[in-house]
Amino acid sequence: MPKRSDLKKILVVGSGSIVIGQGCEFDYSGTQGIKALREEGYEVCLINSNPATIMTDPELADRTYIEPLTPEYLEKVIAIERPQAILPTLGGQTALNLTVSAAEKGILKKYNVEIIGARLETIRKAEDRQIFKQCMQKIGIDLPRSIVVTDESDLKSVSRELGFPIIVRASFTLGGTGGGIAYHYDELRTRVHAAFEMSPVKKVLLEESVLGWKEYELEVMRDCKDNFVVVCTIENLDPMGVHTGDSITVAPAQTLSDRQYQEMREDAKRIISEVGVETGGCNIQFAVHPQTGRRIVVEINPRVSRSSALASKATGFPIARLAAKLAVGYSLDEMTNDITKATLACFEPAIDYVVVKAPRFATEKFGEFTLDTAMKSVGEAMAIGRTFKEALQKSLRGLESGKKGLSGAEPMDPETRLQKVATPTSSRLYHVKSALDEGLTVERIHEVSKIDPWFLNQLKDISDFEKSLAAMPLDAENLFAAKRMGFSDAQIALAKGVKEEKIRAKRWALKVRPSYKLVDTCAGEFPSTTPYFYSTYEETGDLIPSKAGKKVVILGSGPNRIGQGIEFDYCCVQASKALRAHGWQSVMVNCNPETVSTDYDSSDRLYFEPLTLEDTLEIIAVEKPMGVIVQFGGQTPLNLAVQLENAGVPILGTLPAAIDMAEDRRLFGAALKKLKILSPESGIAASADQALKIARRIGYPVMVRPSYVLGGRMMEVVYDDPSLVDYVGRALKAATHPSLLIDRFLADATEVDVDAICDGKDVWVAGIMEHIEEAGIHSGDSACTLPPHSLSPSVLLTIRENTRKLALHLKVRGLMNVQYAVKDGAVYILEANPRASRTVPFVSKATGLPIARIATWVMMGKPLKKLLAPAVLRGEVEPPYTATKEAVMPFIKFPGVDPKLGPEMKSTGEVMGLDSDFPRSFAKSQEAAGMLLPTSGSVFVSVRDEDKAQIVPMARSLRQLGFTLVATRSTADFLTRHGLDTTRVAKVGEGKPDVVDLMKQRTLSLVINTPSGKRSRADGYAIRRTALELNIPCITNLHSAGAAVHAISVLQGASMGVKSLQAHYETLPYKVDLGAKG
């Protein structure tokens, strides 16, 4: 069927901030979808609150609304744009839920907007587990038995019917909270009780457990003509019970016979037609009993998903792009296969390699958790190899978690080891490897872990080979064999007890080099011209030769992790765009399957490879680029810079030596002194005694951290001698370098982030962001505003001047990020990073200027003077509106973790609020972040002594805004003494009802709780955790409280408006249209 001509304008819904379970895969799918729709001549508008995305770049959609993803804002956008259709299937669960609620509220009907991509009915059938169950029963598809309970009385009989363990799922809670696995009756009672407390609808689903079964996923597509294709099959190494997002997964499925697989495919076909997915992609999960083959359906997602992004990267089949085209009426046989260009899209990809995805966890932030039915990983690395062993080892080294491949865990006694093998955790695989090394049999490991013996035997092959490696002569044959099992040079070096470089030199001398093969969707059956490669060790490769002309390699940022997320992928994609705009060829290297950068469309040539020194050197050897860009991919490529340079690779932009100067405390300190830039007093200690001496010299509180750590790890504020001694003990045990940095802690200071570009002559301060939270809360976790709303002109001048001096001194070519803290009018520098920062996309969206692109051109030798208008370059003009960024935290996923902010970064994503002034943009940013500031009700206030005086005016404002105040004894007394009516409530454990009870009764609509600096109090924790789980807004620092009070007063007034980025840019005092070439 040809595309629909009754549609002119389509509204695409994005997925909002990056959170656990919703990563940058939806930027990839949304970007593809928008491009596909515009290609067809539709006018496309977009709503998405996340500024760090390629899809929200102003040139992508016709009109881009960076607005909160709530029905209210959606309605406002619809009222302005009046689209004929809304496409919700590219924006994850968020977009689907938002669209359903807009439909239920009658908004879509009111404006006559049609849902395309999936019908409302279909979404309901797929998402509501009860309706889904009925549908499946109707067509005779097996699913786990389940029972819905609405009270806690008949659990005994229910548990008899289902048998333990039982899967508990609370309805309509945030991120699967309140769910889990109950192994016995008491646990069931506790879990169901907790689930009822959390569930606003008082409905809990109890499900038969199929723990230990084999888990599979099918990525399928169906069109309006009932054409159906399976794009990819995926098998999980971790059996049922570990969320697919947390499992090591493999494509294609490995251990199903053709008959078993075809039966599953037939089921999938029937399920999707019953549910009614008829214009798009869909993901179906199955569980298969390992001994009987009984097959049940676990769930279906009638939209593109994390797995469909993986499937697209694994096969070369662009699911999201095609889903968008199906949504506007095309059928699969009307579209060509982009990769071969010769065949049609209506086929099932055949692959001639193995794909492995490994999850990346935030263990360093939140500790190690037992994995269960709620996803906990924050990112993933994918690898392609010709064998499972090769792909697995590549994916593990791609994770950058310190492992060079499949290595063992720490030594321990056999009993503990067995325990570790039995319990699914982020490190289980390494324990399995150790267990194999230690001689535990595949049968025994299978028995306790339920991991399929096929996988275990593969791991055993690796273990066995590694053991024999030590005694093997390193000749060409053995090296080739090791490489074919995916061993990295570093692993071989470790086994041989020599340096990695030595292995590499030997290998090169023996000409054991990787060959590069194509991802071509058809296992070589048809010629392909799309340069999408992976490395392997084989007889020959099939590298497509490059076109003539300048070629630049861009090193990507690898798996998402806290501190290094989508922002860096954004920068890499921008860099590629900038290069291509000048006809320079871009060569992208990355291993993160969620990203836009790993779309074969984003660069001229794509290498899906781990970002290790070995893997990048090999690519550079075959590509022979004029240079390599390391400044956009975050810390990952930066860590390789020096070694690449030593290997003779030309680094574009700032040289590694300058990067080093900024990171080395002593060198940096010397530079600051010379430039007369103020910094907090500091010292370096190697022992407790030294630390105490330094702390006494500069005075408490001090900020302490081990040197050579990233993302603020183990960074703490210490208030007295005993705490310092305690800290030194812990830190020296954990650190690889026995040295600690001690800084004067600038209490109550305002933190400022600056992004700047230097071309060697000029320095352009592209953005100055004032943080809302005070210094001491990691810049990545703080809200910030551009332009700054309270800094004085002289402070701003100092900031500009210092940034300029520093950039020139460090000989920066390209981007630099500087953090300052302003205290009592003095500007202290906290750190400088000569690379792209997390805030680059935010500043770009806020100012309309493509900073990463400009930086790329500068690195390629263009002067800033040619790229920017003089007033912009001098920083004399700024937007007439305000943009506020807010961070989004993952605490809800980690039971027991205290949801408070500190110097260690913990957020996974960000949103942006854009409006005429600071309070409005702040209010929007809070709404976008899911912090639903109330306009009436009761506010609970509990602040530490230092904050008491400052809370009074805020409390007074809240009273004036019509709120009632509630506080525990000391704060209540204090407020009452200052003439503010305050209701007293018991502390936790002081009597009933206490503050937590009030929250559970939902009588509190806002919580202001500043954690005590010196000792964290148990009841503070209970308050914050409960607020989090019940989704009651909870503010943990004074600066934010002040901003919130402001925002509330705005929200009480006239309702907020919406405006597209493009419309905002029209009000700028400078031109944003740089043309394609700058």
Binding site: E266, E348, A350, P453, D542
Partner: protein, 371 residues
């Protein structure tokens, strides 16, 4: 490594790998198959007689050999080429590793081969003759042997793989309202076809390829299925004669793969050899009547040239990848056929409706007769 093996092609290429099946030396036409599952069905598919199959999916043998997935009594292909053969299969139905199965049936296999490089070569040059040997490492000699192999064209391989005598098939039988009797002419029939017929409630009699029409009429079939089989259809002359007789009596006929080609010739058409054939289970085929696409399982090196057929024969299906004809039907006679494998095994079950179509033809014919 003392389990070395070599693979040599007529164009002079030699690969060194490792034996993963029986020891010995074998030769044949090299073809590749892109199916990611279903190696057992491929190994036991008689249509591969005389051929060495290169599996493009690198990991073969993961789920072992099962009891329920053989497509014939024993493997008929000449050799098997893989990247990595799994020695420790895992599946609840697995009874033995593929390597053991190959050894038991004397099939020479080779692993550790860059099967993608080999596939690209076959794609560029077309199917090549070649040798796999675990005995002889002399490259020149191997290449010479490869060159000396006979070509597939002109060989009547169906004669080699067909059954010795008539037999009836019951496996998978499910009673239906109306029992129909189908005679299957065995040119190397896949058991999957027989299972599909039995599951539809058909009484199935399998007859040797050389069976004449007289004998078939004696069996009083409601319809005749012309099975798949190996090699070139043109030399299978006696069967072509038989089919002409069946057509003359308006017997309902369903041809599959080689059976499709033979029907084509019997109807007056010609066949030709494709460059490297269709071997895989992901080929999109469009039903020209319903406009629906089926993902099909394919395995053939020859093809019917539609231009050579009378105008009473119309094309019913086409391959979306290369536009070749995939199915035809006679507009006056109850005869139709497809080039691909509606029984799948291995492959998607999208095309099983064709068996229902055959059934409908047989029922209609029966009713017409009794009227």
């Amino acid at each position: 490594m003392n389990d070395k093996a070599w693979l040599a092609l007529e164009d002079g290429t030699v690969y060194t790998g490792r034996a993963c099946g029986a020891a010995g030396e074998t030769g044949g036409e090299f073809v590749f198959n892109t199916a990611m599952t279903g190696y057992q069905e491929i190994l036991t598919d008689s249509s591969y007689a005389g051929q060495c199959v290169v599996m493009t999916y690198p990991l073969i043998g993961n789920y072992g050999i099962t009891l329920a997935d053989n497509e014939s009594q024993r493997p008929r292909l000449s050799g098997f080429v893989v990247r990595e053969m799994c020695k420790t299969p895992s599946n609840y139905e697995s009874v033995q590793p593929v390597g053991d199965f190959l050894k038991k049936h004397g099939i020479v296999g080779i692993e550790e081969i860059d099967t993608r490089a080999l596939t690209l070569k076959l794609r560029e040059k077309g199917a090549l003759r070649g040798i796999i040997s675990t005995l002889d490492g002399d490259k020149k000699r191997l290449v010479a042997k490869a060159k000396a192999l006979p070509s597939m064209a002109g060989q009547n391989l169906a004669k080699v793989v067909t059954c010795d005598k008539e037999y009836s098939w019951e496996e998978g039988y499910k009673p239906a309202e109306k029992t129909l009797h189908v005679v299957v002419i065995d040119f190397g029939v896949k058991h999957g076809i027989l299972r599909c017929l039995a599951a539809m409630g058909c009484k199935v009699t399998v007859v040797p390829a050389s069976t004449n029409a007289e004998r078939i009429f004696k069996l009083k079939p409601d319809g005749v299925l012309l099975s798949n089989g190996p090699g070139d259809p043109e030399p299978v002359t006696d069967a072509i004669e038989t089919i002409k007789h069946l057509l003359a009596e308006r017997t309902p006929i369903f041809g599959i793969c080689l059976g499709h080609q033979l029907l084509g010739i019997a109807l007056g058409g010609k066949t030709y050899k494709l460059k490297f054939g269709h071997h895989g289970s992901n080929h999109p085929v469009k039903d020209l009547e319903t406009e629906k696409i089926e993902i099909t399982s394919q395995n053939h090196g020859f093809c019917v040239d539609l231009k050579t057929l009378p105008s009473t024969v119309k094309t019913t299906h086409i391959n979306l990848n290369d536009g070749t004809s995939e199915g035809m039907a006679h507009s006056e006679l109850p005869a139709f056929s497809v080039q691909y494998h509606p029984e799948a095994s291995a492959g998607p079950h999208d095309s099983r409706y064709l068996f229902e179509h055959f059934r409908a033809l047989m029922v209609a014919r029966q009713e017409a007769r009794s009227r």
